[in-house]
């Protein structure tokens, strides 16, 4: 799993991230019923933005995910996320978001204890494209 602020240089965050959730992206579909026929006529509209939520371990290095995403969140600048579910070897699929914006970021919080502090960020992006790793 990697993030980028320009779509060209990617930072590997596999050592920090432990979950990714994707939601949204519904295609707007219109419907109309006519006197004839039993079913609706459907028309295809555009797809809504997709939201990608990633959980990472909180760390303070400048090129590490929390700092990179925090800067983009506070600036309102672009972030790209991409991930390869099967591991990123040749032949595996890879999913890459289009340039997105950080819509939410949880700042570090928690109770006293031994668990590492986790933070979560959500990137809202127009779409996700699939490619094959070669």
């Amino acid at each position: 799993m990697e993030v980028s602020t320009n779509g060209t240089t990617w930072t590997d965050i596999s050592g920090f991230a432990n979950s990714i959730e994707v939601s949204g992206g519904e295609r707007q579909i219109g419907e109309a019923y006519t006197f004839d026929g039993d079913t609706a006529l459907l028309t295809s509209g555009k797809r809504e933005p997709v939201e990608v939520t990633v959980r990472v371990v909180y760390t303070e290095g400048t090129s590490e995910p929390f700092e990179v995403v925090r800067a983009a969140y506070e600036d309102g600048s672009s972030v790209y996320v991409r991930w390869s579910p099967k591991g990123g070897s040749a032949g595996n699929f890879q999913f890459t978001t289009a340039a997105g914006l950080v819509s939410s970021l949880t700042y570090p919080a928690g109770e006293v204890g031994g668990d590492p502090v986790m933070v979560e960020f959500t990137v809202k992006t127009p779409g996700i494209s699939k490619s094959v790793v070669a």
Partner: protein, 62 residues
């Protein structure tokens, strides 16, 4: 003995790990960094095809 260099053409959007760039469908791509098994997997999934060079026929003057 010189090893024949095979050229492949992308049939789908590829992420080329050696060059660090996307390869669009239809573009020629060199896959020297992959072993034969990996190339066979990509061909089996219709992600690439081998570009077969045709032999040039000697031109005959009329």
């Amino acid at each position: 003995m010189r090893r024949k260099q095979k050229i492949y053409r992308a049939l789908t959007l590829l992420w080329h790990t050696a060059d660090g760039r996307y390869v669009a469908p239809g573009e020629a791509v060199s896959l020297e960094h992959l072993n034969d098994e990996e190339i066979a997997t990509l061909i089996a999934m219709n992600a690439i095809e081998e570009v077969k060079r045709c032999r040039r026929r000697p031109v005959r003057s009329a």
